[in-house]
């Protein structure tokens, strides 16, 4: 079974992203939203992508823009909240890291 991981906290403040990365699997996806957008510039994200390239990584565009967080990594896909709703139907379960 695959899982959609919703990361809602900044890794600069707490270690939920690390706990998520510990258990994330190749067919899972990670979505950065709310203060989770700040994880976009952290090296753990690149380490995750190197270790498990098949994990899909998304960020909610309007929330990242609101925080002026940008990435040059082309493997992070910017999506809308509406697309996030669609994503929740594509995965068997959802874990919210907050």
């Amino acid at each position: 079974m695959n899982t959609l991981h919703l990361q809602r906290t900044s890794i600069y403040n707490s270690n939920e992203l690390e706990q998520c990365i510990d258990i994330i699997r190749a067919n899972d996806a990670l979505v950065l939203l709310d203060d989770g957008c700040y994880c976009l510039t952290h090296q753990s994200l690149e380490q995750l992508k190197r270790r498990t390239p098949t994990v899909s990584i998304y960020v909610i565009k309007e929330q990242a823009d609101a925080r002026a967080v940008k990435t040059s990594n082309t493997w992070v896909k910017a999506i809308s909240l509406k697309q996030l709703v669609d994503l929740t139907f594509e995965y068997n379960s959802v874990i919210t890291w907050q």
């Binding site: 510990d22 258990i23 699997r25 379960s93």
Partner: protein
Amino acid sequence: MDNSQKLIAILNASAPSSPSAKDSLDAALIYGSFEQPISLFFQGEGVRQLVDNQTLVNIHIKDYLKTMSALAFYDIENIYVCEKSLIDRGLTHNFHIDNVQVLTTSKFSDALHNHHVVLRF
């Protein structure tokens, strides 16, 4: 799939002094009393809830940890702990409840991925 077939996991990553740690136990017991299949997962600071000889009452917190011994009465038998979280904190396998399974990160992830609903506290 109807609701009765769904496996529910409670992923607990809160320190014993935080309110959400107690909330997660309450949720587990409620699901248990309705005979829903439920498993408990302890990760991160959550593993500290299993450490023996805590005296939370001395810091003015109700000792809800004792209630954990009721888990067996509610047929909650799948209790998993992340070994890495224990090692990171220098903790041993000395728990105040029985029937706790310590799993490597990989096995912990496998077990979690077998559940249909994951509630994280």
